[in-house]
């Protein structure tokens, strides 16, 4: 098992390098010129050239890549062109925020989604099942800016229970930030819940058809024991993959939710970097999201082998 994890970690490193070439390449071919963004429309060509040299943009591409990637590995992520702050600090601050929001979202939708999916699967074709299945479809279809605004209107504007804006100052701890994390967390959870619920329901239905469930029932085990010792564990395997895939999205893909609530997460930072053609910032945010996604998948594979002993590496 340790060998397996070590090998997969090595794979993560290799894949990250490959991805870094891609990320670097993509940032090079993006239209728009950073000097224009920094110096404005009417800057002279000489001033632009000077800035390019200062930023090291006049060197050959492989040299630029080499400098960037070595710095990246060593923790020197450069300076943001648009804000002149160190990229590392900017990204880490936002990453921390994103992880907090992602964690809150995940804790809301993963257990609930599994539970409801299990209930829907066990009561296949009942009214409960239809209600949950159709309801979850509705949540998948509902865009976050709609559900987010409804939540703000109900819980912040009408009831006044929770803050409408989730803007938090840099360095806010989890406990202090928690009230502001609830509404965006619920918004995110509504989408994630639907996916987890539907996946768990499908695999529960599939597991119920298996012979070993019949064996368990005809052993005379009470329903509770059949469900929790025999069905749940086998039904969880596909769900674990879905949850793992959702982690990359939770960390870097919540741009809409973050915007609706004014939450300073990694997604909005990435968007900001792209709008400003802030290459160092863009590259760093993308790489962080890539690495997190791959690590999440690694964790999922480890859990997967635990749940399914027929798979051994």
């Amino acid at each position: 098992m340790l060998i397996f994890i070590a090998r997969r970690l090595a794979m993560v490193c290799v894949m990250s390098l490959v991805m870094s070439v891609l990320v670097f390449g993509v940032t090079q071919v993006l239209p728009g010129d950073v000097t224009t963004m920094v110096l404005g429309q009417f800057a002279t060509e000489a001033a632009k050239q000077e800035l390019r040299e200062e930023l090291g943009l006049t060197r050959s591409l492989p040299v630029q890549y080499g400098t960037w990637i070595t710095g990246f590995v060593l923790g020197d992520w450069g300076t943001s062109i648009s804000s002149q702050a160190p990229v590392f600090n900017l990204v880490m601050e936002r990453l921390r925020n994103s992880l907090m929001l992602g964690f809150v979202g995940l804790m809301m939708f993963a257990p609930l989604g599994i539970l409801l999916g299990l209930v829907a699967g066990l009561k296949q074709n009942s009214w409960t099942d239809h209600f949950l299945s159709v309801g979850s479809l509705g949540f998948i279809g509902l865009p976050e800016f709609v559900s987010g605004l409804i939540l703000i209107w109900v819980f912040a504007v009408q009831l006044g229970w929770l803050p409408a804006s989730s803007a938090i100052p840099a360095g806010t701890g989890f406990v202090d930030a928690f009230p502001k994390l609830i509404l965006p967390g619920v918004t995110v959870a509504l989408v994630g819940l639907a996916y987890v619920l539907r996946m768990t329901r499908a695999s529960t239905v599939e597991v119920l058809r298996r012979d070993y469930v019949r064996t368990a029932r005809l052993k005379g085990l009470p329903v509770r024991a059949v469900v929790f010792t025999h069905i749940l564990r086998n039904a969880l395997t596909p769900t674990v993959t879905v949850i793992a895939v959702s982690i990359g999205w939770l960390v870097g893909g919540l741009i809409v939710t973050e915007s609706v609530f004014g939450y300073p997460g990694l997604g909005r930072l990435a968007l900001f970097a792209i709008q400003r053609r802030d290459l160092p910032l863009m590259q760093a945010t993308t790489m962080v999201i890539v690495v997190i996604t791959m690590l999440a998948n690694l964790v999922a594979d480890v859990i997967y082998t635990y749940l399914n002993p027929t798979i051994r590496y």
């Binding site: 298996r210 070993y212 019949r214 064996t215 368990a216 052993k219 085990l221 564990r233 086998n234 749940l307």
Partner: protein, 690 residues
């Protein structure tokens, strides 16, 4: 002990209400074993599961009652029923791998029964589990307890399930086709175990199966089911000797006997197909397929009546059934003589030293040690004569299928030669001449997978006709019709899709397709094993008739020795990629045998309660082709192993007779001196007389 009275079970579907089981009454005494025999769709599993009140949501007991000891199972609360399930009734299932939870250790699954039913703690449960595994003769029970199901072989898993079923010392043991998924040699070991445990535990056994050979060994009495009704109940010996229902009579007729007569005879089969329960005929359910049906049989459904001597039959003419045997047997024909009488027939196909290696894929370290190749077929030399059948028999993993695929070129051989009419054939199909491709065709085990679900029957059969015989338009249509007629399918089946056909019908289409291009050789790879007894019988008749009409040569692969000996002129016994014995059928089936042939003959279930077989049992499973034992590859399992000679030296290919070879160190005379194979008993000889 168990009394089922007038039980009727219905399934409600969107289209209709299906009366799956109707008016069934059975009783079972302590320590008695009752076999419930019937083809698929006869309702045997529904009957037993319904009696235990375990039915899917759309199934319902509509009438009748079930008493287990003094309790009416129909009156029990759900909680009390759970005390019965697993407590008073133990169940053994058909597919042992599927019946165990893949993500729990075997030990935990066994312990569950003890902790739940016997109020044991973990440690006591584990101890009982270990004790039970020892009782079912499991080698190394401690390590088995810690393993997951996928780490154990089928035979070991089935022992675990039997151990699990017996843990609470239940009064009733239900066995639902417990050996169907196992190899013959493993099946024999498991059946021995069941017989032993039957004596020790004194449980009543309900044994559900379609295999008459197995019931003949295990059961005291038999209930024959047909289309949801019990049509006959008798003691095993009586049923096999003197069936009192035409269905029982014909079901027995579908099974080939181990007779070594010089004639190839067709089997007594059942015309037509089993009716669906939503479309039952009026009157006797069997009447439409019964050649003895009278008018009164069509008028009203005859009840199961006591006909004395503890027997019951649902046939109005039960008294006449014994006389009908002669009439029925006159339906069977002689389809030629076996090869011994036709000497000097030309060799059509000769293989010499055919080897097939597979590149090891996957990341297993063990395989890498073998330089990334696995020898699935390790040098097979055999021959196929014009118009005759070579049967290839062996356990799964013996390389039979790979050998056939190497002959036809679907799998490329790595070494050796395959000659057709003296001409060497290229290893791969692509490199062969169109004529050579046309000369061979194949019928596969699973017709569901080998027929394209999007092609109609006509398209499937027509494809080789247009490809090889260049038939077009009217000629093509006419030939398709003729072929369907040959395989006894109505011509309106042409427009149907495989999904609309039954398993037997699909296999008929596959046979029609294989014969379409007029091949010299048809390779049949386990063509019967997915099918019901009666369908197997009908297909064996069909294949033999085709052979006598068209003069085609068959390579007939099967794990079922009785089918192979019935079909074949020659038999090759394969083990782990090599032929152990090759010769004319009658000689192979009579001593001296190779010890492996002997073991197969000891293991095969014979549909005759009085048959006498040798008691040879093989331990363990066929080793993996990655670890072929040195010397004689059979030596680790061989009951007659001589010691070092067998362990080190490759055995000679010894001629026992002019055309009969045995791959063994032991001299033929010595082998013959303590072998006898199968002696069919009293019942069979009596049937022959009548």
């Amino acid at each position: 002990m168990l009394r089922v009275s007038d039980l009727s079970i219905e399934y409600t579907t969107e289209q209709a209400v299906l009366p799956a089981v109707r008016d069934v009454s059975l009783d079972l005494a302590n320590g008695e074993s009752l076999g419930i025999v019937g083809e698929s769709g006869s309702g045997k599993s529904t009957l037993v599961m319904g009696a235990l009140r375990y039915l899917p949501a759309n199934g319902r007991v509509v009438a009748g009652s079930v008493h287990l000891k003094d309790q009416d199972l129909g009156e029990l609360s759900a909680a009390d029923l759970r005390r019965v399930w697993g407590g008073q009734v133990g169940i053994v299932y058909q597919n042992p791998l599927g019946a165990l939870n893949p993500s729990m250790t075997v030990g935990r699954q066994l312990r569950e029964v003890a902790t739940w039913h016997l109020n044991m703690n973990k440690r006591q449960g584990d101890n009982l589990a270990r004790e039970m595994l020892t009782k079912v003769s499991m080698p190394d029970p401690d390590s088995v307890l810690k393993r997951y199901p996928h780490q154990l072989s089928g035979g070991m898993l089935q022992r675990c399930i039997i151990a699990m079923a017996l843990m609470t010392r239940p009064a009733l043991l239900v066995m639902d086709e417990p050996t169907t998924a196992l190899d013959v040699t493993t099946q024999a070991v498991v059946l021995d175990l069941i017989e032993e445990l039957k004596a020790e535990f004194d449980a009543a056994i309900l044994y559900i199966t379609h295999d008459l050979g197995v019931v003949a060994r295990i059961c005291d009495r038999i209930a024959v089911m047909y289309a949801g009704e019990v049509v006959e109940i008798a003691t095993t010996r009586e049923l096999f000797a003197r069936p009192r229902h035409p269905y029982s009579l014909r079901l027995l007729g579908c099974i080939p006997h181990f007779d070594l007569g010089p004639q190839k005879r067709s089997l007594l089969t059942i015309p037509g197909t089993i009716p669906r329960v939503n479309d039952l005929p009026p009157g006797c359910v069997f009447a439409p397929r019964c050649t003895f049906a009278h008018e009164q049989c069509l008028a009203a459904s005859p009840p199961l009546v006591d006909i004395g001597a503890g027997r019951s039959s649902a046939c109005l003419r039960w008294a006449e059934v014994p006389d009908l045997i002669d009439v029925a047997h006159s339906e069977t024909d002689v389809l030629g003589r076996r090869s011994e009488e036709v000497p000097g027939t030309a060799d059509l196909l000769v293989t010499a030293d055919v080897c097939v290696d597979f590149k090891a894929s996957g990341r297993s370290l063990e395989w890498r040690r073998h330089k990334g190749r696995v020898r699935a077929v390790g040098g097979v030399s055999a021959f196929l004569k014009l118009g005759q059948t070579l049967g290839v028999v062996g356990e799964s993993g013996s390389g039979k299928t790979t050998f056939a695929r190497a002959i036809i070129g679907l799998t490329e051989r790595s070494d050796g030669s395959v000659r057709l009419r003296g001409h060497e054939l290229a290893p791969g199909l692509e490199a062969r001449s169109p004529q050579a491709v046309r000369d061979m065709s194949m019928v596969f085990q699973n017709p569901d997978a080998s027929l394209n679900p999007r092609h109609t029957v006509g398209q499937a059969v027509g494809r080789p006709l247009s490809l090889f015989r260049r038939l077009r338009g009217k000629a093509l249509e006419g030939e398709i019709e003729r072929l369907l007629h040959v395989v006894q399918l109505p011509s309106d089946y042409r427009g149907r899709y495989p999904g609309e056909l039954s398993g037997g019908e699909k296999q008929r289409v596959a046979i029609a397709r294989a014969c379409a291009a007029d091949p010299a050789i048809v390779l049949c790879d386990e063509p019967l094993s997915a099918l019901d007894v009666s369908v197997q019988g009908a297909l064996m008749n069909l294949l033999m008739r085709l052979q006598s009409q068209m003069g085609t040569s068959f390579l007939f692969i099967s794990h079922d020795l009785s089918a192979v000996q019935h079909m074949s002129d020659w038999i090759a016994v394969m083990y782990l990629g090599k032929i152990m014995e090759l010769g004319p059928t009658a000689e192979v089936m009579r001593p001296p045998f190779h010890p492996y042939t002997e073991a197969l003959l000891s293991a095969v279930p014979v549909a005759d309660p009085d048959a006498v077989q040798e008691g040879i049992r093989l331990s363990g499973a066929v080793p993996s082709a990655t670890h072929v034992p040195p010397g004689c590859r059979f030596h680790p399992r061989c009951p007659r192993c001589l010691g070092d000679q067998c362990r080190v030296e490759e055995p000679p290919w010894r001629a026992v007779a002019a055309t009969h070879w045995v791959y063994c160190h032991i001299l033929p005379e010595e082998l013959a001196s303590n072998q006898f194979g199968i002696r069919e008993g009293h019942a069979a000889s009596q049937r022959e007389e009548t």
